[in-house]
Symmetry: C2
Subunit: 182 residues, 2 copies
């Protein structure tokens, strides 16, 4: 649940961060910045800001903006009909991102799992991305990611996005942010 | 035909332009910047620089870099088997781009058609893109584009790219740049 005033403040902060890194949005895109609150009432810890540039039946592109230490909760993109599930390439534009996917778990990870949610983070194969570095996540693969202390901007190139079908490890999570006046 | 020394100089100029606009490449990406010379021996007038971020059987993403006044020659992406042809979204990151596609021709266009190639430019429906603005070109549609006086950086989000199958209006054009030592 997000108050409208909080949404607007987080949208402004996101636009400012993009602007500082030479990424220009149209006024309409600024007004449509998606703040994903995940329903956990701790958006600056577990949350994510998204600008959808284009999403067609053939491809999708988004800007993902993370505030310092902010985490996108563990999820995967399941197969849909003949589609094997969303495949996505994360290209870091600014900051440092720790991305965790299925595979050999790191003994020690650099991210801090959001307190109280430890049991819902189960994949720990760490990929550290700096500006200019990228990683492609196969379809139907558990993953989560967190920005280091500066925050991060990640451009996502992918197949078609169907966010509403994302599966989260944490059953408390709601992918669609509930907005309340105030 | 491009001399290796010319390729390296144009790659360095491209990397510098990207760097000035907060777009970071890995050393390997810098070394692999594609300079498309089109076989016309006038690369700074008819040519294009490309960084391919990712090209899979599901989606593709590239950075297109144009020097001041540089033109990407008129071409289209034809159907291939069950694929209706490459569909692409051009998002302007820096500078001004004049994009021409099929449709009602503008009476006056802002771009300057490369001298001596006038007969190979036949679509004149003009779209002017500034930073933050984007346009999606349908598959199998003739198009060409030119940067204004500052040059331009355009991120291209698209379906799978098969450059070798591109069709050009100008029969003299070669999509694959021939490199010679020197």
């Amino acid at each position: 649940m997000l108050k409208r005033s909080q949404l607007q403040q987080l949208q402004a902060r996101t636009a400012e961060m993009l602007s500082q890194h030479s990424i220009t949005l149209t006024p309409q895109e600024q007004a449509n910045i998606e703040v994903v609150e995940f329903g956990l009432e701790e958006v600056e810890r577990t949350g994510l800001q998204i600008v959808v540039y284009i999403n067609t039946d053939r491809y999708c592109a988004k800007e993902l903006i993370l505030f310092p230490g902010q985490t996108c909760a563990q999820h995967k993109h399941p197969p849909v009909g003949t589609d094997p599930g969303k495949m996505e390439t994360f290209r870091c534009r600014f900051g440092t991102v720790w991305l965790y996917v299925e595979g050999t778990p790191n003994q020690v990870i650099q991210a801090t799992i959001p307190a109280g949610s430890e049991s819902y983070y189960t994949v720990f194969h760490e990929i550290e991305l700096h500006p200019g570095e990228q990683y492609t996540i196969p379809p139907n693969t558990w993953h989560w990611f967190q920005a280091a202390q500066e925050g991060a901007i990640v451009t996502e190139f992918s197949s078609t996005s169907r966010d509403e079908l994302d599966i989260f490890t944490d059953p408390r999570i709601r992918r669609t942010t509930e907005l309340v006046e105030g």
